[in-house]
């Protein structure tokens, strides 16, 4: 079996910074990481861009690769596509107008909110949920990390994914179309999404179920927040008057928070956040254990997008701020509205709202060929009996079962296990220097220097 990279990942490991501490390997929910030569190694096919490793890295060696901010200046029309969660990063006192004004100062010419798309999406979602013929429960396509998780770990459930574009893509289509209708050539439009997570970047750079994304580039939210917050600190008044879209509804403001979708749809819905919680629940869906849920909102991050790995504010505070704003929309009542809004484009957007089939690409398999896979499983089961079952990870894999699977796939050797090494040494089958060499191959040279 060859490992062909299926798609773009925003998560990158900086070898020069990685200290090979294995913290990332311990938290990866799809066991996509291994340690070799003292560095973390990512299996691209297993990674779902959830960002758990990014959070766990103590030396910031895992980065989320985004577009260079200066790329926006390649375009005459520079659109910032801003998710509501960005507003939730700022203290209650900061007005949306103030925040957007600063974004304009930094170089954007237009601001569009991601959740403008919610209005069109809700209707389409309800229509699907009402339909008797569809497979239930339907799973939201909102969180790209979850879509990828289903593809690699729960391949039978790809059929349950609701094949509608998330608000991000709908809004991007809307702002592009609106500008083009006003006579702007497509080549002069640059749409830049301010992302709270790595998964959204991956989804823009290699969309699942679609060939291309209407989004030009993606910029990390922490980067934009730092740029904006500093300026906000230095200015207390609104510096410019900009025409804004119709203010987001309360529903739209809360859409990216936990229950944002589930609370606003027809039928029986359930929201689950945090990737391990989601995995636990998907196991049940696979067994057909859950029969009374029509729609599932599944989000990879705890507190949904408020917990995105690129957010700055505490996730609980950010979620509360957005909920406050959703309740008191009058805070920003002085909007000078644009002449058009998204409802004028409903029929155009509805024509483009569906996404193509999401294909399974299971990464659980030991081999493409079933009889080969059976041989490998037999061998792995034998190996597991020899392993200590303490999941110490000294072998450079996350646990004993993973080591056994790696061995039968030719990716590791049994003597990587330190317990096996001890037994071999006792029998005189492994010279002490050789066992040191094996540890060095996994953990690099410097972890065995200056000891004792």
């Amino acid at each position: 079996m060859t490992d062909i990279p299926h798609f773009h990942h925003a998560l990158k490991i900086k070898d020069d910074l990685c200290i090979g501490c294995s913290h990332c390997m311990a938290v990866c929910p799809t066991e996509a990481l291994r340690i070799k030569g003292g560095k973390a190694r990512l299996n691209d096919n297993r990674c779902v861009d959830c960002g758990e490793c990014f959070k766990a890295c103590p030396v910031s060696a895992i980065i989320i690769e985004h577009d260079d901010f200066n790329k926006i200046f390649e375009f005459t029309y520079r659109i910032a596509l801003v998710p509501a969660i960005f507003i939730g990063q700022f203290p209650d006192g900061a007005s949306i107008r103030q925040i957007y004004s600063i974004l304009m100062e930094k170089g954007f010419t237009h601001i569009f909110e991601v959740e403008q798309g919610v209005e069109v999406l809700i209707e389409a979602m309800n229509e699907k949920i009402r339909s008797e013929s569809t497979i239930k429960p339907l799973i939201s396509s909102f969180c790209p990390a979850i879509i990828r998780l289903i593809q690699v770990k729960f391949p039978a459930l790809v059929e349950n994914i609701l094949l509608l574009k998330p608000p991000l893509d709908i809004s991007a289509l809307y702002c592009k179309k609106q500008l083009m209708d006003s006579g702007v050539p497509e080549s002069e439009i640059g749409i830049f999404y301010i992302t709270p997570c790595a998964a959204k970047i991956a989804a823009v750079k290699s969309p699942v179920g679609d060939d291309t994304s209407p989004i030009t580039g993606v910029i990390n939210m922490d980067f934009i927040f730092n740029k904006t917050y500093r300026s906000l600190k230095h200015s207390s008044t609104d510096t410019c008057q900009i025409p804004l879209n119709k203010p987001l509804t309360g529903k739209a403001l809360r859409w990216s928070l936990t229950d944002g979708e589930a609370d606003n749809l027809e039928g029986s819905s359930l929201a689950i956040d945090e990737i391990h919680n989601v995995i636990e629940f998907l196991e049940k869906i696979e067994n057909d254990e859950i029969t009374d849920v029509d729609f599932l909102e599944l989000r990879a991050c705890d507190e949904s997008c408020a917990g995105g790995v690129l957010t700055t504010a505490n996730r609980f505070l950010a979620a509360r701020r957005l909920k406050h704003r959703a309740e008191e929309k009058n805070l920003d009542d002085d909007f000078s509205e644009k002449e058009t809004d998204i409802s004028d484009y409903k029929s155009y957007l509805n024509q483009h709202i569906t996404i193509g089939e999401v294909k399974p690409r299971s990464m659980m398999k030991l081999d493409e060929n079933m009889s080969e896979a059976m041989k490998k499983m037999d061998k792995a089961n034998e190996l597991i009996k020899q392993l200590p079952q303490v999941d110490c990870s000294v072998c450079g894999t996350p646990n004993c079962a993973a080591l056994a699977e790696d061995i039968v796939q030719g990716k590791a050797k049994l003597n990587q296990c330190i317990f096996i090494q001890k037994k071999l040494e006792q029998k005189g089958k492994l010279p002490p220097q050789k066992s040191i060499d094996i540890i060095k191959e996994i953990w690099g040279n410097n972890k065995l220097e200056n000891n004792i």
């Binding site: 067994n287 254990e289 659980m364 398999k365 059976m374």
Partner: protein, 119 residues
Amino acid sequence: MHFEFKVEGGNFSKAGAASSEVKKILKQLNVDPKIIKRIVVALYEAEVNIVAHAYNGIIYVDINTKEIKTQLIDEGPGIPDIQLAMQKGFSTASPEVREMGFGAGMGLANMESNSDVLI
């Protein structure tokens, strides 16, 4: 390949554990996801039936490239009228069991529809 799983009657918190194990094995063997789904749905129903009705049971799973056979053997009170039990909606479950989300009377019918052969 041959696998065996013990099932404890009456312990609903463990119901489904064997089915989940089998599911993982079938995924590792690169069995078509649609086939896995059918097997696991049928097996899960059967496993829960042991938990709900029997004192204890064993699930035997035999896998080769041509067929996947599951055999569930339990010790329990028995089913007095099999044909009646196969009917959709027929249930002997107590209110307590129904409260836990089990016992809707679809078990045997679901098993049948998700199996190629049900003996």
